[in-house]
């Protein structure tokens, strides 16, 4: 297995030197993607995203909760990622590892900092608010979980049902209203291989990558970024990638 990985990596690095990719995409091209909305009617919001061979199910539950003491007039937003064991031969059982925590936190930051949800509108009464719990279930892992997960989270939140609250009880069969996102955050993830930069890496490309940069954008601004891997990015590169992210994110946002 490890020998094959090295051979594939060498092949990808070799191609990258001339700006080419194993699946013949251009450098700044997304794989084909689909967004299925509301596949899980039991959840208040849901979406199934397929990006190439990557597949992520996103479910949103809306439950009553007690607001945080330092934000007594706001609801709660929480994001969690599950790397389901069948999604990759390398996934192992156990507590969340650093990759699943990073995935959840980057998606959370993109949604939170875009102010996509008006958290003040989630207050039910003093001491009681709605908690919006986003769970990202990775079903098939073939690279670029960030962009698939963020696209799905935004799609699942848009139109998400807020249940009715009556006499201190939740009535889930009736929606009091639906969430309408003020801004729709979308991430674009880039990798660097041998100094060349590519959008939307598959898993083989991620293994060959020296570094990754994820840029979350709203319709006209940047709302979150995350760099990982040892490679550095120059100021010029980051400037160029912000422009590409603002442009390319429109393709994904259209699917919501």
């Amino acid at each position: 297995m490890a020998v094959i990985d090295e051979v594939v990596k060498d092949y990808i690095v070799g191609l990258a030197a001339s700006g080419k990719r194993k699946d013949e995409r251009s450098a700044m091209q997304f794989r084909p993607f689909t967004v299925e909305k509301n596949p899980i009617p039991n959840a208040e919001g849901s979406a199934l995203v397929k990006l190439g061979k990557t597949s992520i199910m996103i479910g949103v539950k809306v439950d009553p909760c007690v607001p945080f003491p330092d934000r007594p007039d706001e609801g709660v937003l929480s994001t969690n990622a599950e790397l389901v064991l069948f999604a990759s031969p390398t996934y192992e059982a156990g507590p969340p590892n650093e990759n699943s925590i990073e995935l959840a936190r980057v998606v959370d930051r993109a949604i939170r900092s875009a102010n996509a949800i008006d958290v003040k509108s989630l207050l039910i009464e003093p001491g009681k608010a709605w908690g919006v719990y986003i769970d990202l279930y990775v079903l098939d892992a073939d690279g670029n979980l960030f962009d698939a997960a963020c696209l799905g989270a935004t799609a699942a939140l848009q139109g998400c049902r807020i249940p009715k609250w009556e006499d201190g009880k939740v009535i889930r069969t009736e929606a009091a209203r639906t969430l309408e996102l003020a801004l729709k955050p979308i991430t674009c993830t880039f990798i660097k291989i041998g100094g060349k930069i590519f959008l939307d890496p598959n898993e083989d490309e991620e293994k060959a990558a020296e570094g990754t940069l994820t840029i979350a954008t709203t319709e006209d601004r940047i709302c979150a970024m995350q760099k990982s891997g040892k490679a550095g990015f120059t100021e010029a590169e980051i400037g160029e990638l912000m422009d590409i992210a603002l442009d390319k994110s429109r393709e994904l946002r259209k699917a919501i």
């Binding site: 596949p39 899980i40 009617p41 039991n42 959840a43 849901s46 061979k53 597949s55 199910m57 479910g59 949103v60 539950k61 439950d63 969690n80 599950e82 389901v84 064991l85 069948f86 999604a87 990759s88 031969p89 192992e92 059982a93 719990y133 769970d135 279930y137 079903l139 098939d140 892992a141 073939d142 889930r172």
Partner: protein
Amino acid sequence: MVGIVPEGAPTLVVGGKRIDGRAFDELRPIRMEVGVLNRADGSAYLEWGRNKVMVGVYGPRECIPRHEADPFRAVLHIGYSMAAFSSMEERNRPGPNRRAREISKVMRHAFENVVLLEQFPKTAIDVRCEILQSDGGTRCSAITATALALADAGIPMRDLVTSVAVGKAGGELMTDLGKEEDNFGEADMPLAFSMRTREILLLQQDGLLTKEEIQKMIRMGFDAAAKIRKMQVEALRRKYK
């Protein structure tokens, strides 16, 4: 009929029909698809009523943790899990709870009967069942889908495993309890069968029943399982068409 009808319980049988209009021996609509995941060695997706289940299989492969490896046969790992967003009620905390651990255990025992584990010593076969949406009868859905995913992974088995629940609600014996019948009914008995040997590989039961009722319910289970097994075989054949 015995017991106290809980407050707010719906009437489960009206005019000889069930709450969703089904006859007593009628199954909910079932849809099965094999080979739905790219990475897993074998996989299956199953919808049964409003239940939605995804199962993925890896193996035989290196057993992790290694100290569990058996020099004479493969170790079968089966994990049943309910997704955080799967139920109509509050979010489930991810990770196995006591219920999920018990279901995983009895599921494993059912499949240890049919999988030819002795052909793959020192390895593990890893099965994961994720309940994406729950609607009563999730373990039967998971077992029926697991049999398909194992077959899809090319793992040799003596038979498929086919599962269905039989129960009693509103004073009537009935096949394939729905969520309300499960929650408010008098008795529930999930079963799993090897239809080739006509053995029962999983049996759990709760609720007060007579011996005769249980015997009748087992016969109802066999009748329903015969229909479900046919669908399993058809789903496997469809993949190779």
